[in-house]
Amino acid sequence: MKRSGWLGIYAVAYLVFLYAPVVLLPLFAFNDATIIAFPLSGFTTEWFAQLATIEALHDSVINSLYIAVSTAILATCFGVFAARASSRYDFPAKRGIMGFIMIPLVLPEIIIAVALLVVLLQLGIALSAWTVILGHVLLCTPFSIAILNSAFLAMDRSLEEAAYDLGETRWSAFRLITLPLVMPGIVSSLLISFTISLDEFIIAFFLTGNEPTLPVYLWSQLRFPQKIPVVMALGTILLAASLILLTTAEYFRRRGVARTGAKDTGGFL
């Protein structure tokens, strides 16, 4: 730890800054007061109990889960196609095509949202869970490609060639050799897309019809001060859920790295 003293202190201070809002969440979720402020007044699980009684919340959770699962599957399928093409083949206008597909990574979500809204309204398509899925797939596919690209690139191509030499067809070699090797990448792409879709607000806000997603429902509740403790309780549950999901995703990613024998460089992106 040569000359890293100050930097180390800074790193810890920065982590405190990063975790400050997250740490408050469970504190207020279990706090026995309707006002979100210090000092804390006492321990209660009432807010969690209330969660079980709100019908509109349950509908929005189910709606969001449906959207997130569909998005994860579709985005990962599109991701597999594009990542396989970009990692294995050289084709005309490759940089342009891949760059174009990756655009939603940097495009403000509100632009995607309004552009899709205008088109859907012009075509006379009613807003529903599926219109949100259309937008979310667009948003999640680049993340999926980024994850799967490194999974495909990390794979040793000679394994596939060996399969061809041993008489496998292109498809059977892909199914028997490539797919199992990149499976950890696929699982991690599914989980990341699921998490992004579950949390996405702007596109859902514009494209959801009468059935709000969970973030859209939350947004409507933030206006009512008396509803905030329940929102905190919900947030705590969501935090726990995404922690479990991400730890799983990280586990699969590391297993993938170990399986292909590469050096672990860390991170999802």
């Binding site: 930097l7 990063l18 975790y19 400050a20 997250v22 402020a37 596919t141 702007i202 672990d264």
Partner: protein, 296 residues
């Protein structure tokens, strides 16, 4: 004809054709759901709203309104100022962290650190922004803490419901998007270059300035663009913590589309924001290329 058919058949078996075929489903999806909608809002920006219908005669009226109306101009300039401030704060705060993880953390623990840095960002964005309101508020965590410690005598009011609050909240929200590209760039630096620099008599500081920093610049540039471009379109943060003087252009775009039912003007505002951000990004990239060339 036979040769043409044969060539076509050969082309279909070629690597290029197979790659194109494989990428085509994703490309088609992006064309249908990204390119076509974007083209539609470009078209909309030249049309006008006639009560419930769209008047499809060509007009530049929307652009005149978007670029001269004082309210729109103020919102646009404020959005740019906030995005710029957020980008600067985020990248400057992120660099030392990326540097610390890349250079001072043992290789087997780097993944854990990156994981620790990314975790807070997978909690609900809405709730995270709302919690900043709780931290920065008049009776908030920060004020009651500082009051309790006797550092201040009365609550600070300049930290909520204004542009400062938006900058703080967004700097938090975009932290990993700045840290990760810089970290990746730092990881790529060949450590023997640093040793060489030290052997040739440079100090720690000059080695950092003349070797590490220039090599890390691609990461910094990526971080700047990744933070700057999307933050201009943020809707939630200005709405929740910005107050009336912290609202940004996205809030106006939403109002035009959903409250005033003026899609053409909303589309024009959205496109104008993108054009300005795009122009600034290109200028930034150009300056960097020039600047880096000078350095080399």
């Amino acid at each position: 004809m036979a040769t043409l058919a044969a060539r076509l058949r050969r082309w279909r078996r070629s690597e290029g054709a197979q790659g194109l075929l494989l990428v085509s489903p994703t490309l088609l999806y992006a064309l249908l759901l990204l390119a076509a909608p974007l083209a539609t809002i470009v078209a909309f920006s030249f049309w006008s709203q006639d009560y419930l219908t769209i008047d499809r005669s060509f007009t530049l009226e929307n652009y005149r309104e978007a670029w001269t109306e004082p309210l729109f101009r103020e919102l646009m300039l404020r959005s740019l100022a906030i995005s710029g401030a957020v980008t600067m704060v985020t990248v400057i705060l992120a660099f030392p962290i990326a540097y610390f993880v890349s250079f001072h953390v043992a290789p087997e623990r780097k993944a854990l650190w990156i994981f620790l840095i990314t975790i807070p960002f997978w909690t609900s964005y809405l709730i995270r922004v709302f919690l900043w309101k709780v931290i920065l508020g008049y009776n908030g965590v920060l004020n009651s803490g500082l009051l309790g410690l006797g550092i201040i005598d009365e609550p600070l009011t300049f930290i909520l419901y204004n542009a400062n609050a938006v900058v703080i909240t967004l700097a938090h929200a975009w932290a990993p998007f700045a840290i990760l590209p810089i970290f990746v760039a730092l990881e790529k630096i060949d450590r023997s270059l640093l040793e060489a620099s030290r052997d040739l008599g440079e100090t720690t500081v000059t080695t950092f300035l003349r070797v590490t920093l220039p090599l890390a610049m691609p990461g910094v540039v990526a971080a700047v663009l990744i933070v700057f471009i999307p933050t201009i379109g943020d809707y939630v943060t200005p709405r929740l913590v910005g107050g009336p003087n912290g609202l940004m252009i996205a809030n106006m775009i939403q109002v035009q589309f959903m409250k005033l039912n003026n899609a053409p003007l909303g589309a024009t505002l959205a496109l104008s924001a993108m054009l300005i951000v795009g122009a600034i990004s290109i200028l930034f990239l150009w300056l960097n290329r020039r600047f880096l060339k000078v350095r080399q």
